[in-house]
């Protein structure tokens, strides 16, 4: 790799969060894909691996008497504070990392090969199929049908090729409505609730400006309303704060005028935009990395970040949708500005509240694939995969994951997965190791032939689903619709996510691990345990899988100093001692 100026630097210190703890000297390696820090003390070898794609920023701090510090912040909220003895080394690593962590092209996923053949790859991509979810909801039926009008992405370039539309709606209505919506994102089906026949639909803001109207768009909403036999009106939910929506009217966009549409009930929800969310996370992370805050500093910082307020606003909007559907049996049309950030959050959250299927391991994959990936949430921009406009970056998807976590805290028995599943998905979104979250919409992914060049994450997660199981999960029937309390005191700081790498803050014993190991017996019956797993129990399984994964990573850089060591240890069955020192 031409970007790596120096592949190895010795005598580097990894500074601890707590200055008094002795930091020992270690060695830093740069590979094509990872930054690896190795600490060797007596018989223990501790390794810290950071994927380049996980790096958010690299900052050279002012020189101190102890050396040249380099601060690396990661999108996974890890913070690495390195201290070099020689300024030159620091500069070289800094320069190298700048090139490595913000590639202009060539994401990791295009290099990564989990040793599958083309058939596995194809099957992997077909594993989650959004069309199947439509059939699961009961489409096509008397009210809704599956449409291929957008198969060439001509009606809307950022929508999927397969759309759910009200039955018998004319092509003229569809194209006319699309023209009246920002970026052609016309109202289409997101979720059909079988029991109430109410639907959740999504779109972008109308190009209503101050006075414009569009007959086809009005017909479209009328058709959505008529597709629900149980309620004479539909809700139109604009997830933005009213002020923002009004400002858009001046720019020829805006929101629906209730007078022009028959039987709509219009509602603002007040979720802030991507820039507010980005700044809020920034402030939250400052609170997370405070050196030794008092309880008051921490709580005040948490309040000032506004983060939990925003999480609650997303949750409130999701609740509004779910309530309308299950209590009033009313259909809902949701939009924000472009209909790919807040709309995705709110639609997917309400799906989770309404339908127990989306609370399963596979169901969540389907939901993410449906509401986020195929409906054109701009993952590449929002996650800053490539060197792009920093103003496009925003933790919109992270907020969705957090809302799910907040729900799981209130309802410990209704999700099939545990917290680690959410965190793993979050890491994978930024890791770009699999192709799923690369690109901004389906059309773009097709153009770069993502399915031929990269692998899908979902089969990999499914293979390891025993790690992500919630042992308390009960498939109880009564609790089909979740009605969480949205009192502010139920919104908690997610230490497991934002302070994931500060292990000292976490509970020292894990109920989850304990229960997983107690229920392991059943899993064992189904799986043949390897020698390694038997020795290490659940903890070992984690390490085993990761080692396996990293081993495959290593094949990319055969010159890497550890390849031989790990392979050697691995084949000899000594992985236990090796993994023991790894700091994941």
């Amino acid at each position: 790799m031409e970007h790596i100026i120096t592949p190895k630097v010795e005598y580097v210190k990894l500074l601890n969060r707590y200055p008094e703890k002795k930091s020992v000297l270690g060695t830093l390696y740069l590979t094509a894909t990872h930054l690896i820090y190795v600490e060797q003390t007596n018989n223990t070898r501790k390794e810290t691996w950071v994927l380049h794609h996980h790096i958010m920023s690299v900052e050279k701090l002012p020189l101190t008497a102890h050396g040249c510090p380099l601060l690396i912040r990661c999108k996974t909220f890890q913070l690495l504070h390195l201290l070099f003895q020689r300024e030159r080394d620091c500069q070289d690593v800094y320069q190298s990392l700048l090139r490595l962590f913000q590639p202009e092209e060539e994401l990791y996923a295009f290099l990564y090969n989990p040793q599958q053949n083309e058939e596995d790859r194809r099957q992997g991509w077909e594993f989650i199929n959004v069309a199947n979810d439509f059939s699961r909801m009961g489409l096509s039926n008397d009210y809704w049908e599956i449409s291929h009008l957008n198969k060439d992405y001509e009606i809307c370039s950022t929508y999927p090729s397969v759309l759910g539309l009200p039955k018998n709606v004319s092509v003229a209505t569809v194209t006319g409505s699309a023209k009246f919506r920002s970026r052609g994102r016309l109202p289409v089906l997101s979720y059909f609730h079988k029991d109430t026949k109410a639907a959740i639909c999504r779109c972008s803001q109308p190009l209503s400006g101050l006075t414009s109207r569009c007959v086809e768009d009005e017909q479209m909403l009328q058709a959505i309303s008529q597709a629900n036999p149980n309620c004479p009106y539909i809700y139109v939910v604009d997830t933005r704060p009213k002020l923002n929506a009004m400002a858009n009217r001046a720019a020829g966009k805006g929101y629906e005028n209730e007078d022009n549409y028959s039987n709509i009930r219009f509602q603002f929800q007040g979720i802030e935009n991507i820039h507010v969310m980005r700044n809020s996370l920034q402030k939250l992370l400052e609170v997370c990395s405070m050196k030794s805050p008092s309880m008051s500093d921490y709580l005040t910082g948490l309040e000032n970040s506004g983060w939990l307020r925003h999480i609650k606003s997303v949750m409130d909007a999701g609740m509004f949708l779910a309530k309308a559907v299950c209590e009033e049996r009313a259909s809902v049309l949701v939009h924000c500005s472009d209909g790919w950030d807040r709309t995705a959050q709110v639609c997917s959250l309400s799906c989770i509240l309404l339908d127990p299927y989306y609370r399963t391991i596979k169901g969540l994959m389907v939901l993410i694939e449906k509401e986020w990936i195929s409906f054109g949430h701009k993952f590449s921009h929002r996650c800053g995969h490539l060197d792009t406009d920093p103003k496009e970056v925003s933790p919109v998807f992270t907020q969705f994951l957090e809302c799910v976590w907040q729900l799981s805290e209130q309802f410990p028995c209704v999700f099939e997965f545990n917290e680690r599943y959410l965190i793993e998905i979050h890491n994978q979104v930024y890791a770009c190791q699999y192709g799923n979250f690369i690109g901004n919409c389906q059309k773009e992914r097709l153009e770069i032939r993502l399915h031929e060049k990269t692998f899908s994450l979902w089969p990999h997660l499914l293979k390891n689903q025993h790690l992500y199981r919630n042992p308390l999960y009960r498939r109880s029937l009564e609790c089909t619709v979740l009605r969480p309390s949205t009192l502010p005191l139920h919104f908690k700081f997610w230490c497991g996510m934002y302070n994931y790498y500060d292990r000292g803050m976490h509970p020292k014993q894990s109920v989850l691990d304990q229960l997983l190991s107690l229920t392991q017996k059943q899993v064992e019956g189904e799986r043949t345990m390897t020698e390694l797993q038997r020795v290490r129990g659940v903890v070992g399984v984690v390490d085993f899988v990761r080692v396996e994964r990293y081993l495959t990573d290593m094949t990319l850089s055969p010159s890497h100093p550890f390849t031989s060591t790990i392979h050697c240890a691995f084949t000899k069955g000594q992985t236990q001692s090796l993994t023991h020192g790894l700091d994941w």
């Binding site: 410990p412 014993q509 894990s510 290490r536």
Partner: protein, 565 residues
Amino acid sequence: MELSEHIKTANVEDVTLRRPFHPALRGTLCVTSHHLLFSDRKDEASWQLLILLKNIDAIEKSVENLFGYPRAMGSSGTITIKCKDLLVLQLEIPGMEECLNIASSIEALSSLESVTEMYPFFYRPSHLTLNGPWGLSSTEQYYKQTERLWDRWRVSTVNSDYSVCPSYPSAVIVPREVDDDKLIRSARFRQGGRFPVLSYCHHRNGMVIMRSSQPLTGANKKRCKEDELLLQAVIDGSELGYIIDLRSAQQAQQARMTGGGFESKSFYSHWKRIHRHHERGKIVQESLIKLVEACSDPSHSVDRWLSKLENSKWLSHVHSALSTAGLVVECVERDGHSVLVHGSEGTDNTLLVSSLAQLILDPASRTVTGFLCLLEREWIQAGHPFQQRCAHSAYSHARLKQECPIFLLLLDCVWQVWRQFPLALEFSEALLLRLAQEVYASNYGTFLCNSEQERCAAGVKENTHCLFQSLLRPDIEEQYLNPLYEPTDLAIWPSVHPQSLQLWTGLFLRWTEYAQNMEEAREEVWSIVKEHHEQAGPDRTNNTLSTHCDTLTPFENLMDELTIL
């Protein structure tokens, strides 16, 4: 005046009871000397609610039709009852006069002053007898069980008539080489006579935790030779002991103006003093009031909630208590020094810190019996003035006098430890919640009075039942046990990062739907554990348990926690 004279209306029919998250019920309300009884009208399988009047913290009444229309005209009143266990109930009572009578009976009977009129003196369940020993253990028994003490320590009965220290038990453990005369002199030099006594001896290294009240050095720096000798005898040959003063250095200085003070370096040369500021008394009580108020705030603003949570300072108190307990543990376990803990009176924060330190250090105090023994030794026998501190809880409008929820703070801290070490304690959150309830209103005599002397005078041991005994007999209820318990010998050192401490939702959201979801989860944990035991068969080995020993962070790795102490 007989208690029954307070009752003008004993029964009212057609009362509507409203509880949070339950449908309203209609039934009969009945007031007795000690209880409020509501039973719904169905004859069979009727549902009853029995509330100890002492549990009622505040009562608010609103009466419609104040002009005295007869009952037939539909006058009625509503009484809102706010309990010390944080439950809030509403009763709609037909008839204005009945409503006012009930309210005044509750007001009078819920605030009885005389201990012997309280319900524990009347509670006579058929399965318990009053004969036999009261309590779980005594100073003498504790001494006998702790072999490490026999060599250098002795039991002194210098306080057998409570004249040396009215708030101490009759027997205390002191260094063998210090005679009773010296103890008497030391007692005169300490506030309330609370001279330094042994609280805990660490099983690993024999180091001890002592506790006392502040020394009465006063403005002109008085000293007391015997007190100095007593402390000297504690550390014996070793180089150094630590005095953890639970006040800021400035507060300790100021205390001299009112006759109190601190151990000066020049007279206690082998003791190093560390100051840690802890709030006390009224401030902590107000924290509880503010927190409970914040928890029931109906507004939907997160900012407002966080600001109220911060402003209540409750979690700050939890933070300080655990931090200082950690400091004590650091001295005893890591550095191998003995410690003396005191604040001013030595009856509140002192007990909080010393008992938390023991929970962290001592595996024996993490079993159900061990924990209850710890509470008995460090709180009941050690003279925490329960009657004064727990006279009112979070809702009372009465002027605060001596109220302070230090014991509740202890339970909260224990819960925080349990949350961070969910396998290390034998008991469950339910036990902590039960104790939080019992301490304010109880059928049992355990938390009555302010000291052993008062309990003796009132005949508590002869005339009431002991809560701790009843909890353990004949078998402890399953709900009080932790299904995941795995004993560990290591110190369980909690993290005190603000991110690591949480609102104790089990207590503060006890009467919400949320509590029901948590209950479901607990049941699920139990069923998994039971299922596993069945599968493993009767001769289940410790295999599954041993794999997790290494997940417990040994205390060496916890050093990084200490820097923020």
